[in-house]
Amino acid sequence: MNLKELYQELILDHGKNPRNLKKTENFNKDAKGHNPLCGDKVHIYLKLNENKKVEEASFEGSGCAISMASASIMTELVKGKEVNDVKELIKDFLEMIKEKNALKSNNLSEDEKTKLMSLSGVQQYPMRVKCATLSWHTLTSAINNKKDEINTEKLD
């Protein structure tokens, strides 16, 4: 257990001053997520262009520092990426958090990797994993046009 790894400066910064905390105008994909155990809520908005590239990504919601930082970092990272790359990123991220795997993605810049890795401290806090993964599951839902709200209790 290491609080310093969990509450890294990047997390605290994004948690306190989340980026892209708004509703994207003219969004064409969106999905809601909810963690009924702690009450965290998130609503993800995406604007994809005709080439299936994410032009805009944003979120609305409330929650702990981990969940806000995770959504903030996630929306920053997916902007400008093609949907297939986003899917790979989600898979990579979830494997890092849940399976404690190293980050595989080769398509990320060093800065992007640092941001993603800042969330890896959650690995040691099983009760907080869902705080970090909620927005990522919700992003998958938005991409796949799923209408049902993501509920962390119904996921693995």
Binding site: M1, L3, L6, Y7, E9, L12, D13, G15, K16, N17, L37, C38, G39, D40, K41, S62, G63, C64, A65, I66, M68, Y125, M127, R128, C131
Partner: protein, 406 residues
């Protein structure tokens, strides 16, 4: 009370949490267990085990006697008129479901109103909601004030000619407010309305006298009373238990079973279908002895001192905002810290061995009312000291330090 001696009776406090002494401030969720209770379960299973009720062999008779002894001890502890007014359940939740189900099916119809309060735990709301769905029963909420209290007046305001049940908490698990149950019961009975009390937080922390409170139903959670999990108690006035239909059907609760008809057993068997939580019931006898050895008046005094010291300490801490300020408050303090989510608070406190609860504490209606998605909660038991509160405060300051970096 000699708290160090009391603490030494709870084996869990010899355990370190992240290399720190355990500061357990989550007794409103569940209390820790004294060794006597744990030992009793072990002894029963290793030396005395048998199912109770039907068999005539030595062990069965002895186990049945032990089981029934607890019923009498509970009766005495809460000053019920009759031992048959004590029904064992799997928890307070089941006790409330039992009443909602049996009373609701028999006596509630479309348009009838069940009056609860905005303080209620989900366990005293959801069971009534089933009747709203199945029978068109209405649920009304007596309002909580800014101090986190529900007053007699706010209850009175919501009573109509359609009110057929008043179901209220004895002691709020979020604001700690203690409700004036005796007055509520008097008012309700003057209008012919029965009263159910959710006593989950009341029973471990208050002196209970069913004949004085005069409520019709009182639900108790044993694991919050230094007892085992999987066990609750429904106190109900005998006339209700006689009048209402059985809840679950099965072995033990029957009179005669024929191909064309079934009659039900007498009290208390009528409501105890199937194999009960025998070991837990027998061990709960030790919990009652433990409480009585300390004396409920001493426990109340000790916890009041803790609560007041906690209030004072946290109020002096500028970053902390306490939720509610009830005139009559039990051993619960809920709070928020500006700019830090309660889950982050709980994680950081945990590192210091300080166990609190964070979230909506199964009271979403109340949190919505206060406009808070979540709160942090410190709750006290017989084993807590002022030193625990100082440690809580020091850990809260550490949260501030971590989060103020940015």
């Amino acid at each position: 009370m000699n708290i160090n001696k009391i603490k030494s009776e709870f084996p869990i406090f010899s355990k370190k949490v992240h290399n720190n002494d355990l500061v357990y401030l989550d007794s409103a969720n569940s209390s820790q267990k004294p060794l006597v209770v744990v030992d009793r379960i072990y002894d029963f299973y290793t030396k005395e085990f048998s199912n109770i009720g039907r068999s005539v062999h030595y062990l069965a008779v002895a186990a049945t006697n032990l089981y029934e002894n607890t019923r009498v001890s509970v009766q005495k502890h809460i000053n019920a008129k009759d031992k048959d007014e004590i029904v064992f359940t799997k928890g307070a939740t089941e006790a409330i479901n039992l009443v909602a189900n049996t009373y609701g099916n028999k006596n509630l119809n479309e348009g009838d109103e069940v009056l609860i309060t905005e303080l209620e735990h989900h366990s005293n709301y959801v069971p009534w909601h089933y009747l709203r769905k199945s029978k068109g029963v209405k649920i009304e909420f007596a309002e909580v004030n800014n101090d986190g209290e529900v007053t007699l007046e706010s209850i009175e305001k919501k009573i109509t000619s359609k009110t057929k049940m008043i179901a209220v908490t004895h002691l709020s698990n979020v604001t700690g407010a203690i409700l004036p149950i005796k007055e509520i019961t008097q008012l309700a009975h003057s209008k012919g309305i029965p009263v159910l009390v959710d006593g989950c937080q009341g029973a471990p922390h208050l002196n209970l006298d069913m004949q004085d409170l005069d409520c019709d139903f009182y639900a108790i959670s044993c694991h919050k009373m230094y007892g085992p999990t999987g066990l609750g108690i429904l106190y109900a006035k005998k006339k209700w238990l006689e009048e209402l239909p059985p809840y679950q059907g099965g072995g033990g609760m029957i009179g005669e079973v024929k191909k064309n008809d079934i009659s039900y057993g007498d009290l208390p068997n009528k409501y105890e279908a199937g194999t009960m939580a025998t070991a837990q019931v027998i061990a709960f006898e030790e919990s009652i002895k433990f409480l009585n050895k300390l004396g409920m008046q001493n426990i109340i005094k000790h916890e009041k001192e803790l609560m007041e010291y906690g209030r004072e300490t946290l109020m002096k801490n500028n970053s902390v905002k306490l939720i509610g300020n009830p005139k009559n408050q039990g051993a619960v303090l809920s709070f928020t810290i500006e700019g830090i989510h309660p889950h982050d608070i709980a994680t950081i406190l945990d590192e210091d061995g300080v166990a609190i609860r964070a979230g909506h504490h199964c009271c979403q209606v109340l949190h919505d009312k206060f406009g808070l998605p979540a709160t942090a909660r410190a709750s006290f038991g017989v084993y807590n000291t002022k030193d625990d509160i100082d440690k809580l405060n020091a850990s809260i300051n550490k949260c501030k330090k971590i989060f103020d970096k940015k």
